[in-house]
Amino acid sequence: MLGWFYRGLTGGRVTTPYPRREERLPEGFRGRPVVHPERLDPEGSWEEYERACLPGAIRVSEKTLTLDLGRCICCGLCASVPGGAFTMEPDFELAVSGRGDLVTVVHRD
């Protein structure tokens, strides 16, 4: 008991100042997948991205590629597909007020 008391007194303040100030998360935090549309070939096949996504957050149709954060588990497998269309951004301010705000769509043209 006293050990914790001492530790608390000498440890100083560890509380994050968020939201007053910005918070930087440590190295290694995966965050969420972000699409880079310029690295997507409009003529190419996007099937591998759909196959890489286990929970089915990435859906590819004839004309679009859809990333739904509502189904995403942030595993990062899409980011390991060669081509680099997806990268993981260590972003944590992800809350939205509409279901539609979680969707990113890329059109072929």
Partner: protein
């Protein structure tokens, strides 16, 4: 932001005005894996300390202003979740925290799950992530209270071009 979306946001802002600087949160686990619960628990440790912001957890929905739901809502939890929502006095706010609660996540819609909280209740804020970082949850709660801005939104791109 469309006009509809703006109206929805304004309505939410009106609802939360009554809360003032203090909020009581009731958490319901609607069949989640448990990782999100750990992250919710972490909000109470000295690192994130949600009490400094006037936010508290309460065990009874009768005392709660905000319903925090984790899990894809299994079919067995549909009724208890609805009962908890109905037991809360107005005004109330619902947050779907964690990926499965937003859109089904890894479970989707199946024989056992309903694919997200919005199949059962009207959701005001979605917090994706599996599990969401405690700071994501904090962002979500503060977004619901109107104390912080939304950072991401719907995106439309065209392939091959920089957006």
């Amino acid at each position: 932001m469309t006009r509809e979306e703006r109206e929805v946001r304004e309505e939410l802002a009106g609802r939360v005005q009554a809360f003032g600087r203090s909020l009581h949160i009731r958490h319901v686990d609607a069949g989640s894996c448990g990782a999100c619960e750990s992250e919710v628990q972490a909000l109470q440790n000295p690192f994130y300390d949600l009490h400094r912001l006037g936010l508290f957890f309460t065990p009874s929905p009768r005392h709660a202003d905000l319903l925090l739901v984790t899990g894809p809502v299994t079919r067995a939890m549909e009724r208890p979740l609805k009962m908890a929502y109905e037991a809360m006095p107005d005004p109330k706010v619902v947050i779907a925290a964690c990926g499965p609660a937003c859109g089904g996540g890894i479970y989707g819609r199946s024989y056992a799950t309903l694919g997200g909280v919005d199949a059962v209740l009207p959701v005001d804020v979605y917090v994706p992530g599996s599990p969401p970082h405690p700071l994501s949850l904090l962002h979500g709660i503060l977004l619901a209270l109107g104390r912080i801005e939304q950072k991401i939104g719907r995106e439309e791109h065209v392939a091959g071009r920089v957006s």
